[in-house]
Each structure stands twice: as structure tokens, then as C-alpha cells.
């Protein structure tokens, strides 16, 4: 079967793939960028006069406070994930290969289970008359229940609970790649445990740290259902603001501007990640 026409199958595949991505990825994103510089309109959502009002509105003290609070909670979430995940990934990478595979499997099970349901499960534990409070009271450690639900802490716990595997997996991958020989070389050259950690382990695991931060920090600003379930009305995420603006207040330019801020944050993190990999001579230009 000599192909006379120039690979019609190839053309069909490329048209389908490009069509899909252009229509459902590129076009919508351009639309959001466009919307962010337009004017709010109750009927058609956006109208013409181009302006930067939406971006200006981001600096409105009312929203700025929400954003900063969200950023703070996301940063805390990321920090906790890093502090928990770093030693975890390290310890994991030191186990036998077979056991590592099993434990990694156990780590991705939650990723495959409904995050709403898991957030709800957390609520059962944290509620005022929930299991943790009842357990502590029956042990006699506390006299009256601690308010855990609907606090900033609850939101952070919920985000950590959902996002921890996303921090651990990239960290595990860099620890798994960390050659034992390099640590031995460091000791051999006169470095103790602390010096080896600072000069060798930390720089070599940095790409994993940044990848983990990227995978945790951004969702930690967007997962609006976590504060909805655990946080009450005072602990909102950027995600809640975007959702409210788009679905309730119908202020598209403002919601779009907020989401662009998220995207820019993502771009910066991705750039940092790539640079850190290039420093190790892995990333290259690709």
C-alpha cells in the first residue's frame, strides 16, 4: 500500500489535537486575559472599554487583606508540607526497594480518592463535639472542647491533608536519585553530617523542593471547598474570591484578574524550578 497522499492519518491526528488544544486551552486562556482588562457588564458579563480597573481592585484593602490571608495560609500549608514531607521522603528513600514501592502506592491511594470526602472526614475529627475533642475529654486532658473547626488552623490542616502527597512525591524522586556516593565523598573530604546536609543534600534536593512547593502552593490558594467545609467565612482562599466573583457577583474582570495573578505566581515558580534543575545540568533547554 504505497501512500500517495502525504500521510492523511498524520494530518487528521494533528488537526484533532491542535483543534482541541487551541479551542479548549489557548482560546479560553486568552479570553480570561481579555476579560481581565475589560469592564464588568451585567448582561454580557464583559463590555468594551479597556481598562485596568480589575487589577486596581485587587489592591482594594478589603480584597488585599483576603489575598494576603490566603497567601499566608497557602504559605503555611506549603511550609508544613515541606517540613513533614522532607524527612518523610528522605526516610522513605532509605528503605528497601520493594517496601518503597508499597509505601508509594499507599501514598497515591488518597490521590485517587475523592478529596471532598476526605475533607469531610477531617471535619468529623475536628468538630467541636467531634472525635478528637471527645477523645481528649474522655482522657481528661481537657475540660471543654477546643474550637478547631472554622479556624485558620483547620483550613491549613485540611490543605496539608489533601496536598501532602504532592509535596512528597517530587521530594521522594530527588532523594531516590541522590547518589549515596556523593554523601560519602562529602564525608571523605572532611564534612560532618550538618555540613554535608547544607552543602550537598539541600542543593541537590532543591529541584524537588521547588517542584513540591509548586504543586502545593498553587492548589493551596485555589481549593475553595476546603474553607467552605472547614474554615467558615473568615478564612477564604483566592479560589473562593474567584469563585464568588465569577458565579455570584458576576464580576468577570475582577475574577479574571485574580486568576491571572495565580497564573503569574505559577509561572514564576516554574521558572525557578527550571533554573534550579539547569544548575544541576539536568534540565537543558528542553
Amino acid at each position: 500500500m504505497p501512500s500517495v497522499t502525504r500521510q492523511p492519518f498524520r494530518t487528521a491526528v494533528l488537526v484533532l489535537v491542535w483543534g482541541w488544544l487551541l479551542f479548549l486551552v489557548l482560546a479560553p486562556n486568552l479570553l480570561v486575559v481579555g476579560a481581565s482588562v475589560m469592564t464588568r457588564d451585567p448582561g454580557t458579563f464583559i463590555a468594551l472599554p479597556l481598562n485596568l480597573d480589575a487589577y486596581r481592585q485587587l489592591f482594594d484593602p478589603l480584597y488585599l487583606e483576603v489575598f494576603l490571608h490566603s497567601l499566608y495560609m497557602a504559605a503555611m500549608t506549603t511550609l508544613v508540607c515541606l517540613l513533614v514531607g522532607y524527612p518523610f521522603a528522605w526516610a522513605l528513600s532509605k528503605l528497601g526497594k520493594q517496601r518503597q514501592l508499597l509505601l508509594i502506592f499507599l501514598l497515591i491511594v488518597p490521590f485517587w480518592t475523592n478529596s471532598l470526602v476526605r475533607t469531610y472526614a477531617l471535619k468529623m475529627l475536628l468538630a467541636t463535639n467531634g472525635l478528637i475533642n471527645s477523645a481528649l475529654m474522655s482522657l481528661g486532658w481537657i475540660d471543654e472542647p477546643i474550637q478547631m473547626l472554622y479556624t485558620e488552623g483547620a483550613v491549613i490542616i485540611g490543605l496539608v491533608y489533601l496536598l501532602l502527597p504532592f509535596m512528597i512525591l517530587p521530594l521522594y524522586s530527588v532523594f531516590d536519585d541522590l547518589r549515596q556516593e556523593l554523601l560519602m565523598a562529602s564525608h571523605d573530604l572532611g564534612a560532618g553530617r550538618l555540613a554535608t546536609f547544607i552543602h550537598v543534600i539541600v542543593p541537590l534536593t532543591l529541584p524537588g523542593v521547588l517542584a513540591g512547593v509548586m504543586l502545593v502552593l498553587l492548589p493551596a490558594m485555589g481549593l475553595f471547598f476546603v474553607p467552605d467545609i472547614l474554615g467558615g467565612s473568615r478564612n477564604l482562599l483566592v479560589g473562593n474570591v474567584i469563585k464568588n466573583q465569577f458565579l455570584d457577583a458576576r464580576n468577570w474582570p475582577f475574577g479574571a484578574a485574580a486568576s491571572i495573578v495565580l497564573t503569574i505566581t505559577m509561572a514564576i515558580l516554574m521558572l525557578a524550578h527550571r533554573l534550579s534543575k539547569q544548575r544541576l545540568g539536568e534540565g537543558g533547554a528542553g
Binding site: 556516593e181 560519602m184 565523598a185 564525608h187 571523605d188 573530604l189 572532611g190 541537590l204
Partner: protein, 373 residues
């Protein structure tokens, strides 16, 4: 007498209940180039790691110039390692890699720069200071690894199969360079390899190891020409083993029956009695291939011939089916010097070039050890 620098006594190490080193003793002299040679799994790398401090012995002591090092962590031992895969820090430049050890000693900046420059000049890499390891070739990475280790001026340099990742030609060059460096620096080198040719050509002394035990310790020449046992004979170089039987014993000679030939050979160091079977060892280059009409020698026929450039290697099958490897230099007077396959010949050797070894109880075990390697 030479001064002992590092002394290992009664070192034992087990992994998962298996003896890797069994009560090993070894004295390493100051300034020598000593090679640990053996098949994989013989314990040579473990021995090196014990010296470096990455492993701790189950029993025994390590002393360096009289100072007990057994419990000292690697960072406090005055010796350095060149790792098999170099173990260069990928995130640091060549300069920072070499400077690492000096920074750990908290040397002044000026001194660090001078000593790093000096070390890099020694390995001809002064122009590569700013590069990252991944921008270097294998041979250059190797040099950085060496510079990084010697810049600390260790008493002893441990090299763990440092040339195994290089191609043949580069390996030969680096062998020469390592010898030169060792001479210039006057540092004791402990070199690990499984390549017997490398071991013979580079070392002052060779330690042949098997199953965590020293099989032989001696100069390359001793190890090659006077192997202590069958294992060493088989592992170091090619060897023909002829079965012999002691006929009669004289003051400094014995008469041995080899394939029906009565040869009078030098009396060996081990005790012999008439009727005792023993091995007559002959290196391929000691074998003489003679005309079939020759009165001396064992009859056989050529079954394989390989032209090797400077030598002609041939395999001769004897009448009892055993095969003999012969390696002959070209005879300049006879340009047509060659054999046909199947050509009948006789093989012999010059008396005194053979080496005698007694039969060993577990000879089959040696064969296994070799095939594993």
C-alpha cells in the same frame, strides 16, 4: 625495612551473616602503590570502604601511623577516596568541587585558591575551573576527582576502580598519569581493580583477594611468575596446567612425569614425595611449539590460531583432548612463520620456566569463583 603506614589487623566484616572479610591482616607501606586485585565479590571494595570509614569492621583494628582509626568517622580520617563513578558534586563548579575539602578544613580563602589552582594544574585542568562536572568528558571528570582528593594532601589515597568507566585508550593514558602523580606526590596509593593487567602494570605490590582472604601478597612479578596457589595462577594472566607426577626427588631438583615425558625440574618450596600428583604451570609465552618430528615434547594439533600483531596465539589440542595455549613472538628470520589449522605439532618448554603447585583439595571451587567473576 619499609615503614608501615596503614596497618589492618584481624579485620572481619559480615553482611547478612555472610563473611565478606575474614580476619584479614595487611600492612601498607609508606609511599607505595598497592593494588587490591580480585573478582567481584572478593571483598576488595569492602576493604577499601573500611579503610575510608564508610563501613565499620565487626572485629579487628585499623591503625594509621600508630594511631587507631577504627572508630574514627570518614571526615576525620587523614585519607581520601577517588570514587568509582567520581562522585563529583553536580551543583558545584570544578573549582568548588576541588575546594570543598579545604573549605571544610576552614582554610583561608587565599590558601584555598592557591592550592586548588595547584591541584588543577597537576591534572592539567587549570582552564576548566568554572565548568560544571556535566560539561566535562569522562577523563576530565576523573582528573577532577583525583585533584579533589589530593588537594587535601592525604597520607593515603584510596582509589575504587577509578578507571573502570573509561574506554580502553583513555584508561591506558590515565594509568600512566596516576603513576606519575603518585611518584610526584609521594602519597601512598591503595588501588582497587578487577583488571589484572592494570594491577600488574601499575603497582609496587599486589594483594590478590578471594572470598575476603588474601591469596597472595607480592610484587607484580612474584604474583605472575610464582603464583601462590591455583586461584592466583588462574586469575592473574593465562596459564596452562599440565598434570604431573613426582617420580624421584633429588637435592635441589625433582623428576616429574608430564604426559609421559620425564623432566627434571627445580624442587619446589612445598614438601614433595614420590608418586605425588602436582600441577605444572606454564604461561602461554613459555610454551615452545616444535616440529612434529622433534624428539622432545608432547604431540598435538593446531585447532585455533589468532594473529595478535606482535604475537601469534595458537591453541594446540593434545592427544588426551586437553588444550594448550601458546603465545609466540614472530621470528624475524622466518617471514612465513604461521600454522595451518589441523597441523600436527609438538609442544614443550624450557626447563626452569615452569612453576609447580601442589594439588588442592577443593579445586572445583576455584573454577566456580572464576566463572562468577
Amino acid at each position: 625495612m619499609k615503614k608501615t603506614l596503614l596497618s589492618l589487623s584481624n579485620l572481619s566484616k559480615q553482611f547478612d551473616g555472610k563473611n565478606v572479610l575474614d580476619s584479614l591482616n595487611l600492612d601498607i607501606y609508606d609511599g607505595e602503590f598497592i593494588t587490591l586485585l580480585g573478582p567481584s565479590g572478593c571483598g576488595k571494595t569492602t576493604l577499601l570502604r573500611l579503610m575510608a570509614g564508610f563501613e565499620h569492621p565487626d572485629a579487628g583494628t585499623i591503625t594509621l601511623a600508630g594511631q587507631d582509626l577504627t572508630g574514627t568517622p570518614p571526615e576525620h580520617r587523614p585519607l581520601n577516596t577517588v570514587f568509582q563513578h567520581y562522585a563529583l558534586f553536580p551543583h558545584m563548579s570544578v573549582f568548588d568541587n576541588v575546594a570543598y575539602g579545604l573549605k571544610m578544613e576552614k582554610r583561608p580563602k587565599e590558601e584555598i585558591r592557591e592550592r586548588v589552582d595547584e591541584a588543577l594544574a597537576m591534572v592539567q585542568l587549570q582552564d576548566f575551573k568554572g565548568r560544571k562536572p556535566h560539561q566535562l568528558s569522562g577523563g576530565q571528570q576523573q582528573r577532577v576527582a583525583i585533584a579533589r582528593a589530593v588537594v587535601k594532601r592525604p597520607r593515603l589515597l584510596l582509589l575504587d576502580e577509578p578507571l573502570s568507566a573509561l574506554d580502553y585508550k583513555l584508561r591506558r593514558t590515565m594509568q600512566g598519569e596516576l603513576k606519575r602523580l603518585q611518584r610526584e606526590l609521594g602519597i601512598t596509593f591503595v588501588f582497587v581493580t578487577h583488571d589484572q593487567e592494570e594491577a600488574l602494570s601499575m603497582s609496587d605490590r599486589v594483594v590478590v583477594l578471594k572470598d575476603g582472604e588474601v591469596q597472595q601478597l607480592g610484587t607484580p612479578r612474584e604474583v605472575y611468575e610464582r603464583p601462590a596457589n591455583l586461584f592466583t595462577a588462574r586469575f592473574v594472566g593465562e596459564t596452562n596446567f599440565f598434570p604431573g607426577e613426582v617420580e624421584s626427588i633429588h637435592d635441589s631438583a625433582i623428576t616429574v612425569d608430564v604426559f609421559g615425558l620425564k623432566r627434571t625440574l627445580r624442587r619446589p618450596d612445598f614438601p614433595v614425595r614420590p608418586g605425588q600428583p602436582l600441577h605444572v604451570l606454564l604461561r602461554p609465552e613459555d610454551i615452545r611449539v616444535l616440529d612434529p618430528a622433534d624428539a622432545q615434547g608432547v604431540a598435538g594439533k593446531i585447532i585455533e590460531r589468532n594473529y595478535k600483531g606482535s604475537t601469534l596465539d595458537s591453541v594446540i589440542q593434545l592427544e588426551d583432548g586437553s588444550e594448550v595455549l601458546a603465545s609466540e613472538f614472530f621470528d624475524e628470520d622466518d617471514p612465513a612463520f604461521d600454522y595451518r589449522l589441523g597441523e600436527p605439532v609438538k609442544v614443550s618448554w624450557v626447563d626452569g620456566w615452569e612453576w609447580l603447585l601442589p594439588e588442592e583439595a577443593d579445586e572445583s571451587v576455584h573454577e566456580d569463583a572464576l566463572t562468577d567473576a
